[in-house]
C-alpha cells in the first residue's frame, strides 16, 4: 500500500517528501503532495496529499490531509478528506475524522471516530424511520 501511494506521488510532484528516521521537525508542515514520516514531527501537518507515518515514525500533530495512514505513533487529531487507516502497529491518541476509517488488528487507539457512512440494510430499517 505504501508503494502504491508513493508511485502516485512521483507521478504528481517529482520527488516524494520524506522526513527520514534521524530527523526531527518542530513546526508546521504545509503544502501539496504526499509526506512519509519515518522520523519525528511536532506541530501541525496540513497537506493536500497523503500522509503516512511508518512504523518507526512518530508525530505529535494535528493532521489534515487526503488519506492518512499510521503505523507508528500519533498524538493528535486526524481530519482526512479520504481514508484513515491505523495499521496493526499503530499507537494513536486523538480523534479521527474521514470518509472511511480502518483500524487493523493490533492497533492501539484512544479517541473518538467521526465517520459518515450508510448503515447496512438490516440496521437502517429500524434506525431510520420512514
Amino acid at each position: 500500500m505504501a508503494q502504491a501511494s508513493r508511485s502516485r506521488t512521483s507521478a504528481q510532484s517529482g520527488e516524494a517528501a520524506r522526513i527520514g528516521g534521524g530527523t526531527r521537525v518542530r513546526g508546521n508542515v504545509t503544502g501539496e503532495g504526499d509526506l512519509l514520516i519515518d522520523g519525528n514531527v511536532e506541530g501541525t501537518i496540513r497537506l493536500d496529499g497523503d500522509v503516512t507515518i511508518s512504523g518507526e515514525g512518530s508525530a505529535t500533530s494535528d493532521v489534515a490531509a487526503h488519506n492518512v495512514s499510521v503505523s507508528g505513533s500519533l498524538e493528535g487529531d486526524v481530519e482526512a478528506t479520504g481514508a484513515v487507516r491505523l495499521g496493526g502497529t499503530a499507537k494513536v491518541r486523538g480523534n479521527l475524522r474521514g470518509a472511511s476509517i480502518v483500524i487493523d488488528d493490533g492497533a492501539k487507539f484512544t479517541g473518538r471516530i467521526d465517520c459518515e457512512f450508510d448503515l447496512p440494510a438490516e440496521l437502517s430499517g429500524s434506525a431510520a424511520r420512514r
Binding site: S13, E15, R18, T23, V25, N28, V29, T30, G31, G39
Partner: protein, 104 residues
C-alpha cells in the same frame, strides 16, 4: 541511512534537526540543523540559519550558512547571508551577498 526530502510542494515552518542528508526542493523557514550534507535544489527556498557538514546550493538561501566541511554555490544559486566554511566554491552564475569566513 536514508535521507530526508522536503518535496517541491512542501513548506516547513519551524525547526528541523537531523543527522542524515537533507534535500530541500520546497520551502524551509526557521532553522535547519543537519550533521550530513544539505542540498538545496533549484527551486528550493530556505529562509533559515543552516548548519551542516557540506552544502550544495542551487536554490535560494536567505540566512547564515555554517558548514563543517564545504559550501558549493552552484550556478543559479541565490544566497544572502554569511557563509562560514573551510572550503567554498562559487560557480559562474551564482548570486551571493554576504561575508565569507574561512576560519584562517
Amino acid at each position: 541511512m536514508a535521507s530526508t526530502v522536503i518535496g517541491a510542494g512542501i513548506t516547513i515552518e519551524g525547526e528541523i534537526v537531523t543527522d542524515e542528508d537533507v534535500l530541500v526542493e520546497g520551502t524551509v523557514r526557521g532553522k535547519l540543523s543537519a550533521k550530513e550534507s544539505v542540498t538545496v535544489a533549484s527551486g528550493g527556498i530556505v529562509e533559515a540559519d543552516v548548519e551542516g557538514s557540506s552544502f550544495a546550493i542551487a536554490g535560494a538561501v536567505t540566512g547564515n550558512i555554517s558548514a563543517n566541511d564545504r559550501v558549493d554555490l552552484q550556478g543559479g544559486a541565490k544566497v544572502v547571508g554569511n557563509v562560514r566554511a573551510a572550503r567554498i566554491t562559487i560557480a559562474d552564475g551564482a548570486q551571493f551577498k554576504g561575508n565569507v569566513d574561512m576560519d584562517v
